[in-house]
Amino acid sequence: MILTADHVAKAYGNGLGATLAIKDLSFEVRDREFFCIVGPSGCGKTTLLKCISGLLQVTSGEVLLDGRRVTAPPEQMAVVFQEYGRSLFPWMRVDQNVRFPLQRKRLPRDKVESLVSDALAAVGLSDFARHYPWQLSGGMQQRVAIARALAYEPEILVMDEPFASVDAQTRADLEDLLLSVWKRFHVTILFVTHDIDEAVYMGDRILVLTPRPTVLEQMVAVDLPRPRDQIKTKELPEFAHLRALVYRSIKKAPTAP
């Protein structure tokens, strides 16, 4: 399962007034990789994500998933948004929310139920299946969104700054949870974040973007050993080195002409 971006460009508007959000971006995400994307604010990370997930059409170039062009949300992809509160359906309970995308797949009833309960167990929310999302804390709601994506059995999981809206403590827990889930479910993860520490901690490779009009600034390989640990990994000199590398890369990226 390979995701390829081939000279992707995205502009808003037409003619002279057009804003070029993404100028030219090419990269490849390998099978079962944990692929992070970072960049300064306003560099079009979210735009890129929407193009990759088929929510927006690219202006030129193409996005390929397993060799096929992405023009609409692909079957094998699941997306987790930053605003968990607004992506979960408030009139459904937690288990109903997780089950919802599966109804389209026409699977036998017991298969659906086992997918739902496995996903909830994987994120540690089995006891909250019959709660409503708004009865849960922010971190728990985001876990529901992740469970929903997992139950869907995607091949690639695309996440748009999913932990940006939770507090630091919860964020660390969620990061570790995501890493364990990634290992268990053998998915490819495309993870967009503005948090450099997070990207280095979690990723196999990091794509650093420039501000608008966005191009590739640098691709950084993260050689840190797995499994990662919040304390031990971050104590390694290699971690600090990579962190500084990415930070400098972002700072160096020239501002828009």
Partner: protein, 259 residues
């Protein structure tokens, strides 16, 4: 102690009004305002339960039939108009015009079309009540959080399915607000259409009583209407409270998060 005082405060004015009215009307010898006791006696004679099947039931049947039609039509068209921009552009001007026609004005037209019977009343009620539901449904659809819709899109939920399982529930709080307005409007239009042309019904009864100068009867009918209006509204509020529990919870937690 405070709760008792609050309760007393709330009851003192209504109690005072009733007692005052009772005392005043008993001695006033005013033809238009008979003694409260006469009115209550007449109420008991008429509505407990002599005239229930001959007048109350037909009235309620018409009202509920017209209301049901209005709710279904208003919701369905509201969902369509709210979801598709082309439909909104096309439907905008006619809706603006039709909704501004005061519904009573349609009564002569309705009688012309349906004759004097229950149908024209149902038509008038439906024609008047559809607008609050429709407009609120449109607003409800327009106001749906884009993130919800994007979520449905990334999970490739088919458009039609989205309409029922995402758009409708998300818009339902607004639709309920419209349904509440429409309910009191339904009662009003039922009474008006019965006063205009009918052979039975509560509205008809009140007008007949006035014309034959059976004043206590007239008042008893008015009292019944007040009770009906109050009960229907209270019942609806309770129903809304139960069905929309999720909405209040979600709003409350959103407010907390924003704080």
């Amino acid at each position: 102690m405070r709760r008792v005082r609050d309760l007393l405060l709330q009851l003192v004015v209504p109690a005072g009004i009733l007692v005052g009215w009772g005392l005043w009307s008993a001695q006033a010898q005013n033809f238009f305002f008979p003694p409260l006791t006469d009115i209550l006696a007449s109420f008991r004679d008429n509505w407990l339960f002599a005239r229930v099947s001959s007048d109350v039931v037909p009235s309620l049947e018409r009202m509920l039939a017209g209301y049901a039609i209005a709710v279904v039509a208003g919701t369905v068209f509201g969902l369509l108009i709210g979801s598709f921009r082309i439909v909104r552009w096309a439907a905008g001007p006619p809706v603006e015009f039709l909704r501004a026609i005061p519904p009573p004005v349609l009564i002569p037209f309705a009688i012309l079309t349906f004759g004097i019977g229950p149908q024209f009343k149902v038509f008038v009620i439906a024609a008047g009540c559809v607008w609050p539901v429709l407009l609120n449904a449109i607003d409800g659809v327009r106001g749906i959080d884009p993130t919800l819709q994007e979520t449905a899109r990334v999970y490739r939920i088919p458009r039609l399915r989205q309409l029922f399982s995402v758009v409708l529930p998300a818009a339902s709080p607004r639709i309920f607000a419209g349904m509440r307005t429409a309910l009191s409007l339904a009662l009003i239009l039922m009474v008006i259409s019965e006063m205009e042309a009918s052979t039975n019904g509560i509205g008809f009864f009140i007008l007949q009583s006035q014309r034959s100068f059976a004043i206590p009867d007239m008042w008893s009918g008015m009292l019944l209407l007040g009770l009906l209006g109050f009960t229907l509204n209270a019942g609806f509020v309770e129903l809304e409270r139960r069905l929309l529990r999720w909405h209040r919870g979600a709003q409350a937690s959103a407010l907390e998060a924003a704080a």
